[in-house]
């Protein structure tokens, strides 16, 4: 298959000084968004007690542990700003991301021991369930750094019960294990009750010498025989019992290593636990990359730092997606699928770190005077989806499924074409057909919302709302996600009221004020920080990190896939080179 993969078609051009100058103001606006995001990331990093105070106790922070256990530069954070319950801690109390440990890819997650000693807090289970979903999608191990003081008791009603409560996470561990996905845990500190199950539910348990895991901690055991109220006598008993359990907490090493044997090994130092996890990770099942690579890895010819000078901050301004692709694909090469059909969509194959990867993206700008082909009433513009683009995406993802190629989506879409003309062209049905096609693929996917993710197009283009295979979604400084633009929503909401008030001779100013307030609300609730906090995206990253996440995703996908298509049995590269209908050219007569 060398003829298909080794030298593909070049894409992209170097930016000119004039282009860089022209985008200077836009880039400054983008830099300002990233500066705000950096403050948010720092806020999360500094949540809870100070790192120095944790270290003074002889402990490492979660961030120290992550830095120690991962291969240098190989931690790609996810969910840093996620806080779906809008809790007072301002984060979910766990830190996670794609990580490489001892050369193997995994999802790494750990309790932030600075925040209430790693307590269960509101919104945390949603974060953990996202992590177990990613492990399931990518078929990679979960590595847990357990340090969990149990439920935050004054808010138990916000986290304990329900179908996606904190206990669901243990069930998910069982589910992963049954699917052949190991969960490795390093265990630190006191882990009572919920913390105990966080400790016991993984596959391999490696313990720090001072840790414990238990059905109930000292506090619960002490309070087992209340009179129904507290008095001087019960208070004294509680003091006595608390002192005892502080010296000798339930479920310590003496029980769970010496007696039950739940702990596989016990380590004297905190780093010893992490070294133990590294050893286990080195033994995790993984193919050598050469099994799936189609070419040697190569960096793009053009720098990723260019992207901030290509994607305009102004959402109305257009750009060429191919110039983004040129900064993300190995050697800035690609094979485009059906370039003459559905011009609003780019679909094609690229190499990422030498592995085959599919890309689907919105194109921007004018699509030609005769497109869409189903009407002369108007012309198409990029960002919108029309009949051909929807059909092309369905075809492409179906073939990716057949060839077992992971898909990376890039969204900058305002929606699907609307109106009776579009309905007659079957766009409603074709959008749902695409969702069906995607669901049928079973290949891991990743999404980058480059700018707009809007209307049903955000769903049908691989969005996580309507796609079981989307491992994670990333945002950028220019991301905005909403059902429709704020101005469109305000018009839709108040148009009839404007007519009514106009006819009644009323002052229009109050309605206009409401409309403008709605536009602002849409802006506030669609931009990067909001998207990250609510989980519309799993992380907001810098443009220059997009390729790094693509490399991490791709390596994780090809580490231990559940199904394989031999390279020489792939059909898609052959279809592309022959463009489906043309066939291979006949060789010249000798």
């Amino acid at each position: 298959m060398k003829q298909y993969w080794q030298k593909m078609k070049d894409v992209g051009k170097a930016l000119t000084d004039a282009q860089i100058e022209q985008m200077k103001e836009s880039k400054a606006q983008i830099d300002a968004v990233y500066a705000d995001l950096d403050k948010e990331f720092q806020r999360v990093k500094e949540a809870g007690m100070s790192a120095d105070d944790v270290r003074k106790r002889g402990q490492m922070t979660i961030w120290d542990r992550i830095e120690y256990i991962t291969d240098p530069g190989m931690f790609f954070p996810l969910h840093t700003l996620y806080n779906p319950a809008n809790n007072e801690e301002g984060m979910t109390g766990v830190i996670d991301g794609l990580a490489r440990i001892s050369g193997k890819w995994c999802i790494l997650i750990g309790f932030d021991n600075k925040v209430m000693a790693g307590a269960w807090i509101a919104g945390q289970s949603e974060n953990i369930l996202r992590v177990t979903d990613i492990a399931k999608n990518l078929h990679v191990p979960v590595v847990w750094l357990v340090n969990c003081s149990g439920a935050k008791l004054p808010e138990q009603e916000r986290l304990y019960a329900n179908r996606r409560g904190s206990g669901t996470c243990f069930f998910r561990h069982a589910e992963l294990e049954q699917a052949g996905i190991p969960v490795l845990a390093g265990i630190y500190g006191t882990n009572p009750a919920g913390g105990g199950y966080q400790g016991i539910s993984p596959t391999i348990l490696l313990a720090h010498k001072d840790c414990n895991i238990a059905v109930g901690g000292g506090g619960i055991v002490s309070g087992m025989s209340p009179k129904g109220f507290f008095d001087e006598e019960t208070a004294e008993e509680l003091i006595k019992a608390t002192r005892h359990f502080k010296e000798s907490p339930p479920g310590s090493i003496g029980v769970h290593y010496d007696v039950t044997g739940f702990f596989r090994a016990v380590f004297e130092t905190e780093t010893g636990v992490l070294d133990g996890l590294k050893e286990y990770m080195a033994e995790m099942p993984a193919y050598n990359p050469r099994f799936f690579r189609v070419a040697d890895p190569a960096e793009p010819k053009f720098p990723a730092t260019d992207i901030a000078s290509i994607v305009p901050y102004n959402q109305k301004a257009v750009y060429k997606f191919e110039e983004i692709l040129a900064r993300l694909s190995d050697n800035s090469e690609h094979m485009e699928f059906r370039p003459d059909y559905g011009p609003e969509i780019y679909s094609g194959l690229i190499k990422v770190d030498g592995f085959p990867v599919a890309v689907i993206a919105n194109r921007q700008g004018f699509l030609g005077a005769t497109y869409p082909e189903y009407t002369n009433a108007y012309m198409g513009v990029g960002g919108k989806l029309y009949r051909q683009g929807l059909i092309k995406m369905s075809e492409f993802v179906t073939m990716c499924s057949r060839d077992r190629v992971p898909i990376i989506w890039f969204q900058d879409t305002s929606g699907i074409d609307v109106g009776d003309i579009a309905e007659k062209a079957e766009l409603l049905g074709l959008g749902q057909s695409l969702i069906y096609s995607i669901e049928q693929t079973g290949v891991p996917m990743m999404l980058v919302v480059l700018r707009k993710g809007s209307a049903a197009a955000h769903y049908v283009m691989g969005g996580p709302t309507a796609n079981n295979h989307c491992a994670f979604a990333l945002g950028t400084a220019t991301t905005e996600i909403y059902v429709m633009h704020g101005e469109t929503a305000a018009a839709a909401s108040y148009a009839r009221r404007l007519v009514k008030d106009k006819d009644a001779g009323k002052d229009l100013a109050p309605i206009i004020a409401k409309m403008n307030a709605m536009v602002k609300d849409y802006t506030d609730k669609s931009r990067p920080v909001f998207c990250a906090k609510t989980g519309f995206v799993d992380e907001v990253i810098r443009y220059e990190d997009i390729r790094n996440y693509m490399v991490a995703f791709t390596n994780a996908v090809y580490q231990n896939p559940r199904s394989i298509c031999p390279q020489h049995h792939m059909i898609l590269p052959r279809m592309i080179q022959s463009q489906v209908v043309k066939g291979q050219p006949r060789p010249p007569k000798e």
Binding site: K316, V318, G365, F366, A369, Y378, M379, V381
Partner: protein, 70 residues
């Protein structure tokens, strides 16, 4: 002499050239707004701008000649 024809109706947002400028086929000579998007219009041919037939803020119908290039 070649006219730059824009097949889509729109509004002129910005004019990037002036009469007498030398342009290449790929140069974005105006930015127009249509269907809520700002779209560049390329010269299409290389040459010298002889006439600019629109002004900023002006709306124009489909198939308008907006510029002449020699």
């Amino acid at each position: 002499m070649a006219d730059v024809i824009v097949p889509m109706e729109g509004k002129v947002i910005k004019i990037n050239v002036k009469v007498g400028d030398t342009v290449s086929a790929d140069d974005e000579i105006i930015i127009m707004e249509a269907m809520k998007m700002e779209m560049p219009v390329s010269a299409g041919v290389s040459g010298v701008v002889k006439e600019i037939k629109v002004s900023v803020g002006q709306t124009f119908p489909a198939d308008s000649a907006i510029m002449a290039i020699e």
